[in-house]
């Protein structure tokens, strides 16, 4: 066989392996979830009680925990990632300061999540505790709010670095067209740059969300790991809780019978689907955006 052919086949083979791995993971997740699906049914998703000792498994508290931490993190992170995108994309696109800032922001994504967990535990938790004492909720320090704060920092680079790139891509004739009509810089940003990049910026937010939903280590360290839902909204936000990822991380070592372990794996399956779907939608929007 000719070397050209061999080389090409090696490339194809390597690529196919990666696809197979993802499919393999999905198959394992589904297969291992079967005992749980069989014994718990679809009610697993909205069961409010998670009590492995009595063999009762309900995913609802973790769904709520995951969605709440992620969305609060998203809301906190959006102003930062948009501000950074606009500043580094439009106001200061070149030069050492711009590069320094852009690299620093990208570095945020490179810091191992255990370090965020540590930092949160030793620095953020005491501050939150004081804050919670002041507003009159039980001063746990750990919980959904604290996790969301750390998550917000961790996900900023995903939306921001895409946002910077997209805003730099806005054709300058368009911006000049607006300037030539007497628009101010703010008006150019509002009426030309924002409409032009809106869908792309939204895709960046979706990528951030995908990252937030699945983040495990830092959240596990900060969320408090309680599988019961608080009764009031205030206690829910500021009290300890659990996400799908954190409950899996915490409990899989002690899952001592089939249904327990299978229920955890089913949680993983749900998480897998949610993050994959969100990422796919995000990528789809980006592709459509960059093709235009």
């Amino acid at each position: 066989m000719k070397w050209e052919t061999i080389f090409r086949r090696i490339l194809i083979f390597m690529s196919i392996i990666l696809v197979l791995i993802v499919i393999g993971i999905l198959i394992t997740l589904i297969k291992e979830s079967i005992p749980s699906i069989k014994s718990l049914g679809i009610g697993f998703l909205w069961g409010k009680v998670w009590d492995p000792v009595s063999n009762i498994y309900g995913a609802y508290p973790f769904l709520i925990g995951t969605l709440l931490t992620s969305f609060i993190a998203l809301i906190i992170s959006i102003p930062f990632s948009y501000a950074v995108s606009i500043y580094l994309g439009e106001y200061n696109p070149k030069g050492w300061l711009s590069n320094l800032l852009k690299n620093t922001i990208e570095l945020i994504a490179a810091v191992p999540s255990i370090i965020y967990g540590f930092w949160g535990l030793f620095v953020l938790v005491p501050i939150i505790r004081t804050f919670e004492a002041k507003i009159g909720v039980a001063p746990y320090g750990i919980g959904i709010f604290t996790s969301s704060l750390i998550l917000a920092v961790m996900i900023i680079p995903y939306a921001a670095s895409l946002g910077i790139t997209l805003i730099r891509m806005v054709p300058s004739p368009l911006k000049e067209g607006a300037y030539a009509l007497g628009a101010t810089r703010f008006e150019v940003i509002r009426s030309v740059i924002m409409p032009f990049t809106r869908s792309g910026l939204f895709a960046g937010v979706l990528l951030s969300l995908g990252r937030a939903l699945g983040e495990t280590m830092a959240v596990t360290m900060l969320i408090g790991n309680t599988s019961t839902l608080a009764h009031t909204f205030k206690d829910l936000i500021f009290g300890p809780s659990n996400t799908m990822a954190s409950v899996i991380a915490n409990e899989f070592t002690e899952a001592d019978h089939t249904v327990y372990l299978s229920a955890l794996i089913e949680l993983g399956l749900v998480l897998f689907f949610v993050t994959v779907v969100i990422n796919l939608i995000g990528k789809r929007i980006i592709t459509r955006f960059t093709n235009n």
């Binding site: 000049e176 067209g177 009509l181």
Partner: protein, 252 residues
Amino acid sequence: MEHTVVSASKFNAWFGDNHVVKDVSIGIEKNQVIAVMGPSGCGKTTFLRCINRMHELIPGATAKGSLKLYDDEVYTMNPIYVRYKIGMVFQRPNPFPNLSIYDNVVAGYKLNGLKMAKADMDNIVEKSLTSAALWKEVKDSLHKKGTFLSGGQQQRLCIARAIAMEPEVILFDEPTSALDPISTSSVEQLFHELKEKYTLIIVTHNMQQAARVSDKTAFFYLGELVEFDDTKQMFTAPSDVRTQNYITGRFS
């Protein structure tokens, strides 16, 4: 001269250390079409962009000297106001892709948040599109996106957008270089009609175009204004040997 609309004296412009417009003095009269020509890199586009202060939007770009709109010094006026009074049409048609034809025409008002009655706005749209010789072609599709139009129509839409602001002067930066010959001639025809109300300053690469459309021609070379005279005079008997060489095609 009371009819002078735009005048420069000892006007200079730089990109960083690069001196691109050197000591230019010129007086441009009302309701004339002025062609600005010269080889690439001669500073003609930069000079044009200085007139409505677009030059300074580029980081590192500076300008010095006197440049007046009537009796007012452009560089002490609010740049926003300068750009209301001095409109601009670019090399490539650049209608706003997210706006309809209608909204593109009134984009200048909308961008600046100026509120106005629907009827007034309709009126401005019709008038501007008519002046830009586009009304008949688009009057039934005003709410379609401007980017669906052909290149020549898009450029006329951009002209309508500039006219809508009722400027004194309209600057054209090689307005037909991205257009096919038919669209080019329709835009050139428009210049003759527009000069009844406005003063037009057109940067062009194309000498035939300068000869066809302009009353007066300015020839730039290496940042200097070499010659500024009636177009006929300039093309038949230029007074400077550099102009002569350029016109006869000895360099380009």
